[in-house]
Symmetry: C2
DNA sequence: TTGTATGCGTTATCAT
DNA sequence: ATGATAACGCATACAA
């Protein structure tokens, strides 16, 4: 592999001059610039990334921590982030934590080992005290996830209010016994949602169903399990709040395969407004998140921190959500959409 | 940030000895080893990745090129690959090409700049002659995509036969006018599938419908567009071969929203056996790929090339597919599943 | 405008 | 068993 030295020799100039050409710096005669460009072409020269990183102490790379990429929400998030980052000349490393606090910490190590310049955490299962120490190795920004006590930029929705509204909607539709079926027991987000859910119940004077407090529902098959649990153990349940459209879809699918009618026997709300929520029959009432906007802002905030270290103050960016009313909860009004 | 030098000083030893401890090499007294370990802990020392890479000429990182991560097939693929790679201590960089030949080449540059040790191409829109030159910078392996003329390991299914079988199935179900609606016009895979599709038509003496030769159908909304195109322009069509379950889902959704019955008026086959193909009503006949197995094998083959350069010969690993018969094509027999 | 010399943090070679 | 030194490829301060 050709090095900068080889190029310099072939062009009959010094490494420094070659370096100037590579980095588009001034003070190089057009004639010599041409000679160097030609030499680089002839040798098929490409700057060695590791050497550059070592010298410049920069990687132009950011890590994005998220639970699993097969979750469409995170798939969309990472796609948007990658796009935005590349506009700034940054690469993105995808880090799947699978809700493991150990993996989360392992990936934060990328910051210490200087493999990345900054980290976006869209997965958060550790306590702030365990994350904070890594701040000294580079900036960290939260996206989607958030925590009151952290002193870093956070880009997210108000999940508590969103869950509250979803629960109120179920109650307004006449649901009397609403089950809570969410996932990621460790997630701080889950805690926020549950708070909102509980507040709605309290406001309407309905008790929380302790007997079916599900914290392991993440995907379609979990949704199916939840339905069977409801049918066999708690058939009086007439409404379910789920943490994702996938869980909702699994639930509805199984309900339809049995003798249950959705929403008449069981109303279901999802979360995220994924494609599947629209494709299901009935379509799924869900909460839409402004994924692209959050992704863009997150990348922008992080890169600004990298470009101007210590410049801007930690700030929260709260994005609006929207409860999309569809047929899986339509127990009272006329058909929606 | 602490360096190996700092650790050496604190422990009162040389960098060399510290390095030995870091890399678990012999010839270090247990006592000194302890001293060094303690010093590392005290300083919060972590080896600098860039320096290591520069020195060792290895990154322990591989790049995976794929069209888009939001396509569930690739989401599953990358998830499995990442898992397998991490077992070998390798990191994975996700590179979305979005079917752009320029991006594909840009990402191959990662090999030349030594940002990665090897590349897995699950996206392939360039000709082999444009890819081959990068081989001298490191090993490349194809996954899912394949090309007859390439002399590198390829892990894939027989897409031609799979498409053939799907088309035959439609024909056997009595479809007389079958549309072809696939995506990625540049993909070599697409060409293979089309071949199989055409062979089936010919075998059954049916003409190819030149008038509706769709090569832009990739996601759900494309599927919806395809249906509207069929209804308004080619209502005589009674069967569709799609390149993905998402397209099939969009098609079926729109058909159901109109007055068309699936499969009576229009039979539809998908591809990939994604979750959505099972959730749709009717469920979607589709082709299952052994994603995990292919992902695992691909990573294994690539890493073997890295560990034993030039050792094993290029080889093809062809995995079996399976046509899953479901309700979206059930025009003749009793209900399936 | 161009070149020389130094160092980024590691690891490998060769002494001791 | 331990240490001094060079080298990986590049970019920069400084000199010319």
């Amino acid at each position: 592999m050709a090095t900068i030295e080889d190029v310099a020799k072939l062009a009959g100039l010094s490494r420094t001059t070659v370096s100037r050409v590579i980095n588009d710096q001034p003070y190089v005669t057009e004639e010599k610039r041409q000679r160097i460009v030609q030499a680089m072409k002839d040798l098929g020269y490409v700057p060695n990334s590791s050497a550059r990183r070592l010298r410049s102490q920069k990687t132009e790379t950011i890590a994005v921590l998220l639970p699993r990429i097969t979750n469409p929400f995170f798939g969309n998030l990472i796609e948007a982030m990658e796009q935005k980052a590349s506009e700034w000349g940054y690469q993105v490393i995808v880090c799947q934590t699978h809700h493991s606090s150990k993996k989360e910490i392992d990936y934060l190590q990328l910051l210490k080992t200087k493999q990345v310049d900054g980290v976006i955490m869209a997965s958060l299962v550790n306590d702030w005290k365990d994350v904070e120490p890594y701040l000294e190795s580079g900036p960290i920004v939260f996206c989607n996830e958030y925590m009151e006590d952290a002193s870093i930029p956070m880009i997210h929705m108000d999940h508590k209010t969103a869950a509250y509204e979803a629960a109120v909607h179920l109650l307004e539709q006449g649901c009397k016994h609403i089950a809570y079926a969410s996932g990621g027991p460790e997630s701080h987000l889950g805690a926020m949602r549950k708070q909102g859910f509980l507040e709605a119940l309290e406001e309407y004077g309905r008790p929380f169903l302790e007997e079916i407090n599900i914290d392991w529902a993440i995907d379609v098959s979990d949704g199916q399990k939840v339905f069977h649990l409801i049918r066999s153990e708690f058939p009086y349940i007439d409404g379910v709040f789920t943490g994702s459209d996938e869980v909702a879809a699994g639930l509805i699918y199984e309900a339809s395969s049995s003798d249950w009618q959705v929403p008449e026997d069981l109303a279901v709300v999802g979360f995220d407004n994924q494609m599947v929520s629209l494709l299901m029959v009935p379509s799924v009432t869900t909460i839409q998140q402004p994924v692209i906007q959050m992704a863009d802002k997150t990348v922008e905030v992080l890169i600004q921190q990298l470009l101007h270290p210590g410049a801007i103050a930690p700030k929260r960016y709260v994005y609006p959500h929207q409860l999309l009313l569809r047929n899986s909860t339509k127990r009272r009004e006329a058909a929606i959409q």
